[in-house]
């Protein structure tokens, strides 16, 4: 490397150092970013389970337990979709829909299908618990086979 090239690199370093600002150095993470990353997690979760289900569907399992495991996956995918929808709706549902009483939510006003779906998404354990029950049954059957 010759002397002129070194001089050019030095001059560029001085220029960028003199024009630097905090915006370029540190990225801020707001609340929306946490939601997005969580939603991406749900999508990945769904893809992963869908792929697993797909692999299991193409393979014929003769042994017991696999049917229950597949049901577990299907319900888990459904739960993911439901929860993903619930997280998204939670950001846009108006606050006045929630009726407060003594600083606690007492009722929810459903004016349209959107509100109805939102309310249903809040009951996601109704899918998640059965899915885990199927997982439990599958594991019990597998263990019994042993």
């Amino acid at each position: 490397m010759n002397r002129s090239a070194l001089n050019r690199i030095f001059l560029l370093f001085i220029f960028f150092s003199s024009v630097a600002s905090p915006t370029w150095a540190v990225q801020a993470h707001g609340g929306a970013e946490g939601l997005v990353s969580h939603q991406i997690g749900h999508i990945l979760f769904t893809i992963g389970m869908a792929y697993l289900l797909l692999r299991l569907r193409t393979i014929r399992f003769q042994k017991k337990g696999w049917f229950e495991f597949k049901l577990f996956l299907v319900l888990l995918i459904a739960w993911n979709i439901m929860t993903f929808t619930g997280h998204w709706m939670n950001e846009i549902v108006p606050a006045e829909k929630f009726v407060k009483s003594q600083n606690h939510t007492a009722t929810f006003r459903i004016d349209n299908l959107f509100d109805g779906i939102y309310y249903a998404t809040r009951l996601d354990h109704l899918i998640l618990v059965p899915s885990f029950l199927f997982l439990l049954v599958a594991l019990k059957k597998w263990r019994r086979e042993v």
Binding site: S37, G48, L52, T107, R109, R122, L126, F132, L135
Partner: protein
């Protein structure tokens, strides 16, 4: 429509609690599942996947419970601070679950490969187990057989032996003690390079040796066969020795060797030539010493040769009938044939042969008895018999001739009237004839008595006296000249004689001269000259009787001194008993003199006699 929010809260709290319980239960089952088969990669996957799900479920359920508790206790600000962490935990769990979901195929592939490998391994193990079982059975069969068998490791420790082995070589020491093979079965090969184990370690695949064991006075013999003893990977562990009892075979071999030795002694010591030959090719397998002596051929020269190639059969035509007879009967006795021996001489033999098997190969054993001498004796006997018959005939004739003459003349004497009719001169002639014929008879009888005396081993008695030899020769010439006027006689003597005196038996000497001169007369034509030479030698006299007669060939010369031999025995031949020359020879030799004959057919004969001055 207004709907209560309380169900949402109850569902959240109840669901979270149930999820916590279910998650723990699932984690427990998954742990049990993977513990049951820790080597199963698929179960491990299910376990890890369940753990990820459980982690998500617990973190979420715990977060929701915390949220509801905080909200119910009017602490929403605290929840706002905690909520991002709960969400982040859930997000992390989602990513992990996603990773497990999409890596299922890889786990499955590895699982299948491992399962396949495991199945193959199990099949291989099963096969190997079968092989081992078979090997074990084979080994057991080997050990359980009736032949003594043992297994020895590389340190010479006998690790196994069967009952048959211990019956021959009993256990030593405590049953569980390790016994070295050279202690159990000491032998000449122990601690040497010919030790079977040493050879097996050296790379030999099979070692065979002969061993023996003394049982009192009995010796038992075994063939030991040692083979390598290897593990399934081919690594040498030791050797397996099997011993086969060959005592009976050995005894049979010893008996066979002794039998062969006896046969060999008989074969070798047989005074007659013996030949052992192959039946098919006729080539000689063996000959004895007598064969070598008689034929002049060494054993090495004779072996693998055919008798006809060696020129042993003098008469090849007699060989074929011999073979045919042997082939048809299997044996043959006293077959007479002529054989040519090393010197080229043809000898007569009686061949006896029989077919026998040597090493399963048909062979001929020939014994040849040389009867050449017997045959010659037989021929001599026949000749003697012929000569005897001829002698009797000749003697009868020789005796009857003068006897008839004498009887004819004596007939005149018995008849005086007839006798008186003859003149005195005629009467004198008659008496002289009787006398001469009597003298002839006397000579014949004297010759016979001399021969008889010689045959019985008695020497001819001599009455020695000193005589003047030239005078004796002169008288004899004159007598023969008188009686044989048809021949011319001449006496040749040296002009000066130093010592005419010689000590002889006068009568015997006259007998010698008469025989020689009468033979000369008999075998010479009328008118031919017969010369009697006499000359002095250093120590005696040489007398030669030389005629110009028919002479003799070599064979006649060779037999001229034989008793009863007559050169021409035909009826037309010259008369005589064939004793004269034999008597002459005995008489000359009794005087310590010599006699020899020189003759050629048609050119006459010369008989040369030498006599010493002193016969004693």
């Amino acid at each position: 429509m207004i709907v209560p929010w309380r169900p949402v809260v109850f569902c959240d709290i109840g669901g979270s609690v149930l999820m916590l319980l279910l998650s723990c239960w699932c984690a427990h089952l998954a742990w049990q599942l993977t513990r049951s088969r820790p080597d199963n990669i698929f179960r491990n996957y299910i376990f890890l996947f369940t753990l990820a799900i459980v982690f998500f479920s617990i973190s979420r359920s715990f977060g929701h419970l915390v949220k509801q508790i905080l909200l119910l206790n009017d602490m929403p600000l605290i929840w706002q601070e905690i909520a991002p962490f709960s969400g982040a935990l859930n997000s992390t769990a989602f990513v992990v679950i996603f990773a497990f979901g999409i890596s299922f195929q890889r786990f499955q592939k590895v699982h299948n490969e491992i399962e396949n490998y495991k199945n193959n391994l199990e099949e291989m193990i099963e096969e190997r187990t079968d092989e081992l079982e078979k090997s074990r059975n084979t080994l057991e069969n080997i050990l359980n057989n009736s032949n003594p068998t043992n297994i020895t490791d590389l340190n010479f420790n006998m690790i196994r032996a069967n009952d048959a082995y211990y019956q021959i070589w009993p256990r030593t020491g405590v049953e569980d003690d390790v016994v070295r093979c050279y202690d159990s079965r000491p032998g000449v090969h122990c601690h040497t390079d010919s030790c079977p184990l040493v050879q097996i370690i050296g790379g030999r695949e099979v070692v065979t040796q002969e061993v023996s064991k003394q049982f009192g006075e009995e010796t038992r013999h075994f063939i030991l066969t040692a083979r390598p003893f290897r593990d399934i990977d081919g690594k040498l562990l030791g050797m397996v020795e099997t011993l086969q009892d060959i005592t009976l075979r050995k005894q049979a071999e010893i008996a066979l060797v002794e039998s062969e030795s006896r046969f060999r002694k008989i074969f070798e010591s047989n005074p007659d030539p013996v030949i052992l030959a192959r039946m098919k090719e006729g080539t000689i397998l063996d000959v004895n010493r007598s064969f070598e002596t008689v034929t002049g051929l060494s054993r090495q020269e004779a072996i693998d040769q055919r008798p006809e190639d060696l020129g042993l059969w003098a008469d090849l035509e007699s060989q074929e009938p011999f073979r045919q007879t042997l082939k048809s009967r299997g044996e043959i006795s006293n077959y007479e044939a002529n054989f040519r021996v090393g010197s080229g001489e043809v000898r007569t033999g009686l061949v006896s042969a029989s077919v026998l098997r040597v090493s399963k190969e048909p062979c001929i054993l020939l014994v040849i008895r040389d009867i050449t001498t017997e045959k010659a004796a037989e021929r001599t006997l026949i000749e003697m018999d012929r000569m005897k018959s001829e002698f009797i005939s000749t003697a009868a004739h020789e005796l009857s001739t003068p006897l008839s003459t004498m009887m004819g003349y004596t007939e005149f004497l018995r008849n005086p009237e007839e006798f008186d009719s003859f003149s005195d001169e005629q009467k004198l002639d008659f008496i002289n004839e009787i006398y001469e014929n009597g003298e002839s008879l006397s000579r014949i009888i004297s010759d016979l008595l001399d021969i008889s005396r010689i045959e019985s081993g008695n020497p001819i008695p001599l009455v020695l006296q000193r005589c003047n030899l030239p005078t004796l020769l002169g008288k004899k010439i004159r007598a023969f000249t008188t009686h044989n006027p048809e021949h011319r006689f001449r006496l040749e003597l040296p002009e000066t004689i130093e010592n005419p005196s010689i000590q002889i038996d006068r009568q015997r000497f006259n007998q010698v001269l008469e025989n020689l001169l009468s033979n000369a007369v008999k075998y010479s034509a009328a008118g031919t000259e017969i010369v009697l030479h006499g000359r002095e030698l250093d120590n005696g006299w040489e007398i030669r009787v030389e005629d110009q007669g028919v002479g003799m060939n070599d064979e006649q010369i060779a037999h001229v001194f034989d008793k009863f031999y007559r050169a021409d025995a035909s009826n037309t031949a010259v008369s005589g008993l064939g004793l004269g020359m034999s008597v002459v020879k005995q008489a000359v030799e009794a005087h310590h003199g010599t006699i020899r004959v020189e003759s050629a057919e048609g050119k006459g004969t010369t008989v040369i006699v030498t006599l010493p001055y002193t016969a004693e």
